[in-house]
């Protein structure tokens, strides 16, 4: 029965796409209705303890369950998708809107499938479907060939990560004969190393961690609503979710913690810097996404997957909100350049909502995102005080770019164009802002205890110095961000800083070191295939023809002037060959002769 949670939006997507629905209200209402039912199904499934089993064959068995961690994620996906889909129906271009809404529903269904998966194949199915949806969504505007190129870039890069899951599945089956998550714990030795490495690789690629982060920038070519969902509750979230879901198994490997922390911290710091230098509103948010998932990787690596999960939830709410408001500002400015924006005066309601999101991004108490961030500092501190410092630094960067974003996009600029936001857009951003505010409840000790009970693990108490240090860092960050926004609004738009703003030159390196060499290799192979492999065949063919011609000339001379000579010659050779016929070989010769006759007829008729 639990399958229904994922299958319902998947089938609904197909039906919506097959229907002639084209108008905004109809599409928006239908899409939201589907998501609402999905949400109710998930709640019901959680309360009733639904599970699901299905088999293709004896070895290929699938299973889905809801655990205390996965149920949180399963609820988050439709909750975030609801306002995003409503916004999409109101905001995006009417042309292709039906396709967009269907794909968003498909996206949600595929994500839910991977969330409830309890075996590697179900996970892999959802995982790759999410990737395919993101391809279609990023390339949604089909007239733009560059968008299709970006979609391909994103798909291929994340699929490289998917190979990790393939390898993991292969290793597990080899040793246990099943794919179930329950079997993963029984692995040992090098197989366990390969398993964990494969999962970490997949997760890092999906969550836009280094060195895969550049695909998230290219993904910005998709419509804003797509970015909002892709960065918050689907696709990118899948990587961190996978680590959170499988943390008990992964943590058995002693190197998993340091590896996850290493990847996460590097991405958090590099992403923070990249975001701060970005003058493009959506790319700023995209780099920030990588950075925040990096922090979640740190928390999981330090042994606190529940904290990472809570931050994932808080991040989903504020990041979806910020993308939606970036989309509204982008439409007014007809550009996503921060220097073209500044709609605080003309769009006051959206500005307030955006400010709530930005404060959450910056980690300002009493917003819930601030508590989850402080918890991540504490988690890091349990690993090493230095790590706590590093996370504080990442927090400072986060505060700085949050400030730069909100001040530039919705600051008190002199921009007085007659800007408007549509009612549905306002409702979508408003409800996300309200949810972000409601998460402030996380600061209440009672709620914290309840959550600790739910996850069956208490939250660590932060030492005072960490809280103070962290808040100081946030303050410094906010000030720095404000300075940049006021004094250097175009920072990173040109010059050396512009290349730094593009993931510190990483995409360039990937293109030169991997992309181009592979294409060159393909060209070389094609040339070799044509000239050498087929060339050899052609030479054999030419040799055959030459021999035939020489032989024919000889035959010709013989046959010339002897019209019946040929006949006699054939008869003679027939007689000759008959002499050789002894026993069974006769039949085989007959076979060959029949084949030769067929060949001769064909060559003759086919001319």
């Amino acid at each position: 029965m639990l399958w229904l949670v994922a299958l319902f939006p998947l089938f609904a997507a197909v039906i919506v796409h097959a229907s002639p629905m084209q108008r905004r209200p109809a599409l928006g209402a239908t899409g939201c209705g589907v998501l609402l039912v999905t949400l109710l199904l998930t709640v019901f499934a959680g309360l009733e303890g639904w599970v699901g089993r299905f088999a293709w064959s004896t070895p290929l068995q699938f299973e889905v369950v809801l655990t205390s961690r996965s149920v949180v994620m399963a609820l988050l996906v439709p909750v975030i998708a609801l306002p995003v889909l409503a916004y999409a129906a109101a905001h995006e271009r009417l042309q292709g809107l039906n396709r967009l809404v269907s794909l968003l529903l498909l996206f949600v269904g595929a994500m839910l499938l991977l969330v409830i998966a309890a075996d590697l194949i179900t996970l892999l199915i959802g995982w790759e479907l999410v990737g395919a949806c993101s391809w279609a969504l990023i390339g949604h505007e089909r007239q733009r060939v560059s968008h299709a190129a970006s979609a391909r870039y994103a798909f291929v890069m994340t699929r490289f990560g998917d190979l990790g899951l393939f390898v993991a599945a292969m290793v597990v089956f080899r040793d246990t004969g099943t794919f179930a998550f329950a079997a993963l714990e029984t692995l040992g030795g090098p197989q366990q190393t390969i398993l964990v490495a494969g999962i970490v690789l997949s997760a890092a690629a999906k969550s836009g961690q280094l060195p895969f982060a550049p695909w998230l920038f290219r993904a910005m070519d998709g419509p804003t609503s797509v970015s909002a969902l892709l960065h918050s509750a689907t696709m990118v979230a899948a990587g961190a979710y996978l680590l959170i879901r499988l943390e008990p198994i992964l943590a058995q490997m002693p190197w998993f913690g340091p590896a996850s922390i290493g990847i996460g911290l590097a991405t958090a710091l590099a992403g923070g810097l990249t975001a701060l230098l970005q003058p493009h509103a959506k790319k700023l948010l995209a780099a920030s996404t990588s950075a925040h998932y990096g922090l979640m990787f740190v928390a999981v690596g330090a042994g606190y997957p529940e904290i990472a999960l809570l931050h994932l939830v808080a991040h989903a709410v504020f990041k979806a909100l910020l993308f939606l408001s970036a989309g509204i500002a982008g439409r007014q400015a007809v550009s996503f350049s921060l220097t073209e924006m500044g709609f605080g005066r003309v769009l006051p309601i959206t500005a307030v909502a955006t400010a709530v999101g930005a404060l959450a991004l910056a980690g300002i108490p009493p917003l819930g995102a601030a508590w989850t961030k402080e918890m991540m500092v504490t988690a890091a501190g349990h690993f090493s005080p230095w790590l706590a410092f590093a996370v504080m630094l990442a927090g400072a960067l986060s505060a700085a770019y949050a400030m730069r974003f909100v001040y530039s996009a919705y600051g008190p600029s002199a921009n007085d164009s007659s800007a408007t936001s549509r009612t549905t857009e306002t409702i979508a951003t408003g409800s996300l802002a309200a949810t972000s505010l409601a998460l402030a409840l996380l600061w209440l000790p009672g709620i914290q205890q309840a959550l600790g009970g739910w996850f069956a693990t208490p939250f660590p108490a932060p030492p005072a110095w960490e809280t103070i240090g962290s808040l100081l860092a946030v303050g410094v960050g906010l000030y720095a961000g404000l300075l940049i926004a006021r004094l250097h609004p175009a920072l990173g738009a040109s010059g050396a800083l512009a290349s730094c703003a593009d993931w510190l030159g990483l995409p360039f390196a990937i293109d030169r070191l991997i992309g181009r060499p592979i294409h060159a290799l393909a060209q070389r192979c094609a040339g070799f295939d044509d000239a050498i492999i087929d060339g050899a065949v052609r030479r054999i063919g030419a040799g055959g023809l030459f021999t035939a011609r020489v032989a024919y000339r000889g035959l010709d001379r013989l046959a010339d002037g002897l019209p019946e000579g040929a006949n006699r010659w054939f008869a003679l050779s027939g007689d000759d060959s008959r002499r050789f016929q002894t026993g069974l070989s006769h039949h085989y010769l007959a076979f060959m002769a029949a084949g030769a006759v067929v060949l001769a007829i064909i060559l003759f008729v086919g001319r």
Binding site: I125, E128, R142, F166, F173, G177, G606
Partner: protein, 494 residues
């Protein structure tokens, strides 16, 4: 029943010589006659016993023909033959129904198609090695004419290259058959006896030579690198439906032949060289994918992905044959290889039919000449996207069911080779997405404004193939059950 499956289209082809009808009538008549084998095979499928104590070959027919040589009209199917033959029959109906440019020779066109259907099904359904060889060769004849007469570009040259090259492979097979059969006493071409006797077991040099004959012959047909270069020109110049049958059905004869003959009849020798074949498979996978990525010609690109996909099939077969692997894993590899044959038939069949649609509209396969077609041909876009994603192995579609099992099964036997082969699905992803981008995205070139979307019949044909691709991707149980009944026996021997 199986005899009728072959004779109905064969007699239909003959009857066409005496009929004088207009072109649509030929097509619908051919469609009707061509569907008969599909219906018969569907009935066979429904009656096929998949329980563990069922005989390996069912619906057996055995009439003596040339008793002195042990040749007989022997028909029968196991699970593998059944699914591959049924897929082939379906693809033939699709190819016949596809609106074709018959150049005023509709009668001959459809007659050759029916002839080709009869002999192709014969290859999969016969249990007699001599008949197998005859059908195998006659299939070349049928396709030779379809390419040579109704092809475009340098069609005759491509047809002759196709014929001579693959005929050379046939000769290798003939020699190998002779070498194999002569070891039986009393002489017989009965496959069941040959499988049971393992006549060449223990004869090292001779068994190896016979194996080489089969591998070269079937390797050309499948094709494996480096024996594949006949395939791209044959595809490029063939009419769309003939291309679909070439990729969907004729290539399967190579892989099917490997399983049916050397794998089953020379188990010991085949197992000894399984690793070499697996290496060859990985080379085919990577080479096919890489070379495909560099092709600008739509059809050449898809032709090379066939090399890639048939490499997966070979990898599955080689892994299944290896001594020492877990039986469950080897069975999974062989099941995967068979599913890949079916999936590749449907997917690549659909892709080549789509290529035919391109050629009929523009006479151009150059990818660079296209762009933005999603604006004028939304249905074509849908089907092409679906088929491309199926071909790159997206879960939920048929290719994934096959490739997953091949990889997982092969990994248990050859971990490194399977891991390297995984790169193949990454390259195919890149090359198909690049192709889709080039065809359907971006600005529509001015001279493509009049590009027409798919017609009703085309939509109908592609919809059936697409539906099967999706159904196999989501619920393949009905397909896996008969296949597993055969692969369980085929992998139990070691």
């Amino acid at each position: 029943m199986l005899t009728a499956t072959i004779l109905i289209p064969l007699l239909g082809a003959l009857a066409f010589s005496f009929l004088r009808l207009n072109e649509p009538a030929y097509r619908w008549l051919a469609c009707g006659v061509g569907s008969a084998p599909l219906l018969l095979l569907a009935a066979v499928w429904l009656g096929f016993d998949t329980s563990t104590d069922a005989p390996a070959f069912q619906y057996v027919v055995d009439y003596p023909w040339i008793p002195a040589l042990g040749i007989g009209w022997r028909m029968g199917v196991d699970g593998i033959a059944l699914v591959v033959a049924t897929m082939s029959a379906l693809l033939f109906v699709a190819a016949i129904a596809w609106p074709a440019e018959t150049r005023g020779r509709a009668r001959e066109y459809y007659a050759w198609f029916l002839f080709l259907e009869a002999v192709s099904l014969g290859v999969f359904l016969t249990l007699d090695l001599a008949l197998f060889y005859v059908f195998f060769d006659l299939s070349l004849v049928g396709l030779f004419f379809l390419i040579g007469r109704w092809g475009h570009g340098d069609a005759e040259r491509a047809a002759i290259k196709f014929f001579v090259y693959t005929f050379a492979g046939s000769l290798a097979i003939l020699l190998a058959i002779i070498g194999l059969v002569l070891a039986t006493d009393p002489l017989t071409f009965d496959m069941r006896t040959l499988i049971a006797e393992q006549a060449l077991a223990g004869m090292d040099l001779r068994a190896t030579l016979v194996l080489v004959g089969f591998v070269v012959g079937f390797g050309i047909k499948t094709p494996f690198v480096p024996l594949h270069t006949w395939l791209p020109p044959a595809h490029v110049n063939a009419p769309g439906p003939a291309s679909a049958v070439l990729a969907g059905v004729l290539l399967k004869m190579g892989a099917y032949g490997l399983i049916r003959i050397p794998y089953s009849m020379l188990s010991e020798t085949f197992a000894r060289y399984a690793f070499a074949l697996a290496v060859l498979a990985v080379i085919s996978i990577l080479w096919g994918a890489l070379v495909s990525m560099a092709q600008r010609d739509l059809k050449r690109r898809i032709a090379y992905t066939s090399v890639n996909h048939m490499g997966y099939v070979l990898l599955g077969i080689a892994a299944a044959a290896t001594i020492g692997g877990e039986q469950a894993a080897r069975q999974m590899a062989l099941t995967g290889a068979t599913v890949e044959m079916v999936a590749h038939g449907l997917i690549t069949g659909a892709l080549f039919l789509i290529c035919g649609a391109f050629w009929q509209r523009t006479g151009d396969y150059d990818l660079e000449q296209y762009g933005g077609l999603s604006q004028v041909a939304p249905n074509l876009t849908r089907f092409t996207v679906l088929a491309s994603f199926a071909s790159l192995g997206l879960p939920g579609l048929a290719g994934f069911v096959a490739e997953l099992q091949i990889f997982v099964g092969a990994f248990s036997v050859y971990p490194w080779l399977a891991a390297i082969a995984l790169l193949g699905i990454l390259i195919t992803a890149a090359l198909f997405l690049q192709m889709l981008q080039q065809l359907f995205f971006g600005e529509l070139p001015a001279d493509r404004k009049s590009f027409g979307d798919l017609a009703r019949v085309e939509i109908g044909v592609l919809a059936i193939l697409a539906l099967l691709i999706v159904v196999i991707g989501i619920y393949p149980n009905w397909l896996l059950t008969p296949i597993s009944s055969a692969t369980a026996l085929l992998t139990a021997g070691f």
